[in-house]
């Protein structure tokens, strides 16, 4: 489960996922899919901020 992970690893993985989602959003032509990807990235930014604080 996630809370068993080493905090630094989880943060690094979250940041990697944010970058992946943003890249896919930038390449996406469907506005609804793009919004879905961008907002998933936003949610992970909230998580990354929580992990960093």
């Amino acid at each position: 489960m996630e809370h068993d992970e080493v905090p630094g690893d989880r943060l690094a993985r979250t940041q990697w996922l944010i970058a992946q989602l943003r890249q896919r959003a930038a390449e996406c032509e469907d506005p609804r899919e793009q919004d879905n990807l961008r907002r998933s990235a936003d949610s992970l930014v909230r998580l990354a901020t929580a992990l960093r604080a």
Binding site: E2, L17, R46, T49, A53
Partner: protein
């Protein structure tokens, strides 16, 4: 003055406190001042953790409720459409433009949902709980499902239906498709289990921070089952923990579907929620049989202990406010969370 200058000016004016709270908004500045009190009012939450500040989002962010209480909003998709909406106040506009405004407003309401909580809740406790398994999926799914379900009330409260006539006739599609269908199925199931009015579990969860959301779900599940009648008080915490771990693990797995096409995310979200509810029912039935059985043979006891041990040992749940092990008291506490005292519309920065 260019649109960019107008937005910069509006944010500067808002953040300096030179704005009118408690009025029906007629400008972007007035909307920024009044949008959080309106969210508090329609939600019935005890407080908002919003610190009153709004900043332009960077790094490709659409909307973000920062843990320090600051609201981050994207210029292109949120601030600029809303500025434009007020510049064309009362005019007939295309469905495409109305949909753009609606999407901006639902994102704003979604972000405010993250700030809502019961009186006395802290952002630090919410932040700690948000990191626990399944918390992010539940909080995001609740915020998005609730924001879409209550958007028309929000728009009416803010007078947006007068500013952009016809905005209640267009629709914006929910995002977070990995989470929203699962949250909808779970909260509908909880409404049915508990006999609450349709949508009440979703509204109650929206009034909680991450700290209280899963404990509230477990309260509803536990108290609507036969468990309070058969589980000894000293075993109740362990049974509750098993239920919470089952729910959390299912919702944590929803994160694996993020980033896929919306249709795939939604389908997997639904199937995962159905499996989650099935597992929950099995857990409840197993525990009810175990604690109701007056006598057990050694073989039966071994089988039940094995079933109760599940796939993983119980883990410590997210830090939550003090709970009681007395079933009746839990029921009363849950009732208070389901039926909060109505919150009056208050000025910006309250709470």
């Amino acid at each position: 003055m260019t649109a960019i200058d107008e937005i910069h000016s509006a944010l500067q004016q808002h953040n300096s406190g030179r704005h009118a709270a408690g009025v029906v908004p007629r400008t972007l500045v007035e909307l920024l001042a009044n949008h959080a009190p309106a969210a508090l009012s329609i939600s019935g939450a005890g407080q908002t953790a919003w610190n009153g500040q709004v900043v332009e989002a960077g790094e490709g962010i659409l909307g973000l409720a920062h843990w320090d209480g600051t609201l981050h909003l994207d210029r292109e998709c949120i601030l600029d459409p809303l500025r434009e909406m007020y510049s064309r106040s009362g005019l007939i506009q295309s469905d495409a433009m109305l949909t753009r405004y609606r999407e901006a407003l639902v994102t704003m309401l979604h972000e405010q949902s993250h700030f809502l909580g019961p009186s006395g809740a802290t952002q630090e406790a919410a932040r700690q709980a948000f990191k626990q398994p399944g918390s992010r999926a539940l909080e995001e799914g609740v915020a998005e499902a609730w924001a879409h379900a209550h958007l028309d009330d929000y728009l009416t409260t803010l007078g947006v239906d007068q500013v952009a006539p016809g905005i209640d006739q267009v629709r914006a599609e929910p995002s977070y498709q990995a989470f929203v269908p699962a949250v909808t199925l779970l909260t509908d199931d909880l409404d049915e289990r508990t006999g609450l009015p349709a949508g009440e579990t979703l509204r109650a969860l929206n009034r909680e921070t991450a700290e209280g959301q899963w404990p509230l779900v477990v309260d509803l599940v536990y108290c609507s089952s036969g468990l309070p009648e058969c589980v000894p008080p000293n075993r109740e915490p362990v049974v509750r923990l098993r239920l919470e771990n089952t729910l959390r693990e299912s919702f944590r797995s929803l994160e694996d579907f993020e980033g896929h096409p919306r249709g795939y995310e939604a389908a997997r979200s639904k199937s995962t929620a159905r499996q989650c509810i099935d597992r929950l029912n099995t857990e409840i039935q197993t525990a009810e049989r175990y604690f109701q059985a007056p006598t057990r043979t050694p073989d039966q006891a071994t089988a039940l202990r094995s079933a109760l041990s599940g796939l993983a040992p119980p883990k410590t749940p997210a830090q939550s406010r003090p709970t009681t092990t007395a079933g009746a008291e839990v029921t009363n506490r849950t009732r208070q969370r389901i039926q909060p005292t109505p919150t009056p519309l208050r000025g910006q920065g309250d709470g």
